[in-house]
Symmetry: C2
Subunit: 342 residues, 2 copies
DNA sequence: CCCAGCACTGAGAGCGCTCCCATGAATACC
DNA sequence: GGTATTCATGGGAGCGCTCTCAGTGCTGGG
């Protein structure tokens, strides 16, 4: 038995079986849960595992089961800044946690541009991972097509045109509903001239929030709409424009907290009182922003980590083929959080 | 030949060999570079690979070569915020790029606390990855010990007590040297009362910068030292304290750009002119900060992405066993970037 | 013209594991 | 008490690949 002499290399199942005095098959059963093995044998194997410090060889297992126990999270370079986005962090955290709960690992795939597509396609084709998770933010992204071509189970984070066209399931917050709730809240406060500061035009989440705004403000003056790019700076600028165009506005729904923070700054600089003169509602409920605004920001909360977890859950159902058919999308609810600004 | 009928499953080397009319061994040689195979056969195999869309099965390869082609990047939960740190982002980017250049993949391991240690240890022991990369920032971290116990090749990012004790190679910026250069520059400007705003006391990088400051200001008044925690807010506060204690100070070296930005704000609020009255030097050369300060911030540049790449290079040498002995540490140079603030 | 020497190629073992199937023991049924 | 049935266990094939080693066809020297 060479296993005993080659003490340097890691013990195999064979060694465990030999030590426990059972066959490799039985040892395997115990290692994988031990169903259908009698208690005394289970114990003997468990003990052998313990004593030998046995850890299953992942490659060997993958080779036969055709399951790698890993999931790729694809990050496209155009949005790499997203990486330092608290948003993204929370989502990845959720993904990581849920993956751990499913005994899977997270492989980070950083796509640096079309030149990388080949490499990624080969990687996805190589059976390294069981499925992928991707964020399709911009509509012009080539990533969805790439993933579709690799024919690997995938779930998207965020609604996207390409994703829907390719029938890839996605998870998203109820952006439209959340926006609607925000604007309705402003209406219920008796506000009549409610403006909107929108996010980037190529971002579905931003567009959905615009739609939600229009659901309530069906015949709003176009002058009450202003365009930002989700940065604080752009929010400040958009607010200034709005005030110039419609000095009579009495409320503003801002498409994200960062821009809302900028809007608040402009209002303060112009001596406009919040919420007395103008009520402000944001979106995201970002801890770092919400904590520091003055007055405290009323905003639409979304469960980002939960979204990440849901992506994994959906993917796992896709992989198992159990739990019934996989829905085309899952929309997580949002909730208005009332603070001082509206 | 069942391979042909099971069109659904991916082609194997066997299928490629059959199609090219060669043996599996020869096909394997071609796929792995094709040395020692005559040109016509190489072409035939290449063509078969192309036509069949063959992608090597990773698990099978790993099983025999004992190399997974993956490297784990370990992120410890106590520092999870670091994830949204531009710093960390750049470092991971460098790691990702260099890993790609070495045909390796990045597996993200998110450690959520001591409860996770078992899971991680088992993972590292399971041959999933060839080596690990970890960031040991705080001195009280248990992570280094955990990794050491797993006996897996590792490189640390950042100097740490534990890392040095366990003789794990590390890569770090020349924090001390950079700080020295910053302070020397202030001296060369004729400044005499040079203060320092330090970073967190449990962070080696911050301590090294303090040491660099002291290297030049050997008998500095302790009143010229102030403590921050690397946030903008803390920089503003520390600057205020310094001005109260030593109104005659004419320069300040701040341990990072974020705090420098805060310090600049305090100085502006107090009507202190920069650099005329007080010269300010930061550390990091963070694009997002440096771009927006007024006046433009003079700071110490460090090559974060390069540090990440170096970590990978070092690890690869550790794995290959080639390229000579692996140094205990690699320190990347820093460089003072002169702008308007000093 | 024969054989040593060389360059290529193929046969086959084996990496560590799971899973199918056969075997044997124990229990149930009539 | 004999056979059908269940249940636990072991034997062994085989996942797709790499790698050693033997074999094949050449060339060149004697």
């Amino acid at each position: 038995m060479p296993e005993q002499t080659t003490g340097a290399s890691r013990p195999t199942l064979e060694a465990v079986a030999a030590r426990a005095g059972v066959s490799r098959a039985t040892a395997s059963r115990v290692v994988n849960g031990g169903v259908g093995v009698r208690a005394p044998l289970v114990d003997k194997v468990r003990q052998a595992v313990e004593e030998l410090g046995y850890v299953p060889n992942h490659a060997a297992r993958t080779l036969v089961t055709r399951r790698s126990g890993a999931v790729a999270v694809i990050i496209a370079e155009p949005e790499f800044r997203i990486f330092s986005d608290p948003f993204f962090e929370q989502q990845v955290r959720g993904i990581s946690r849920e993956l751990t709960a499913h005994d899977s690992q997270l492989v980070l795939l950083w796509v640096e541009g079309p030149g990388d597509h080949d490499r990624i396609a080969r990687y996805l084709g190589g059976g390294h991972v069981d499925g992928t998770l991707a964020f399709s933010l911009h509509n012009d992204d080539e990533l969805p097509a790439l993933i579709a071509r690799a024919r690997i189970p995938t779930v998207f984070g965020g609604r996207s045109e390409a994703g829907q066209r390719l029938a890839v399931p996605y998870v998203d917050s109820d952006n439209r509903g959340g926006a609607r709730e925000a604007v309705r809240h402003l209406v219920s406060l008796g506000r009549r001239h409610i403006a909107h500061i929108a996010g980037p035009r190529d971002l579905m989440a931003a567009l959905d929030r615009v739609d939600g705004y229009h659901d309530v403000m069906m015949d709003a003056d176009p002058a009450l709409m202003s365009q930002g790019d989700f940065t604080e700076e752009s929010g400040a600028r958009a607010m200034a424009e709005l005030l110039d165009r419609r000095p009579d506005l009495d409320a503003v729904f801002v498409a994200n907290d960062l821009m809302a923070s900028g809007a608040l700054r402009t209002l303060r600089e112009r001596g406009v009182r919040v919420p007395e003169d103008v009520a402000v509602v944001g979106f995201d409920d970002l801890a770092s922003v919400v904590r520091s605004t003055d007055p405290a920001l009323t905003t639409v909360h979304q469960d980002i980590e939960g979204t990440g977890r849901l992506m994994v859950k959906l993917l796992m159902r896709l992989l198992d083929g159990t739990g019934g058919p996989v829905p085309a999308s899952v929309i997580t609810p949002t909730a208005l959080v009332r603070r001082a600004s509206a």
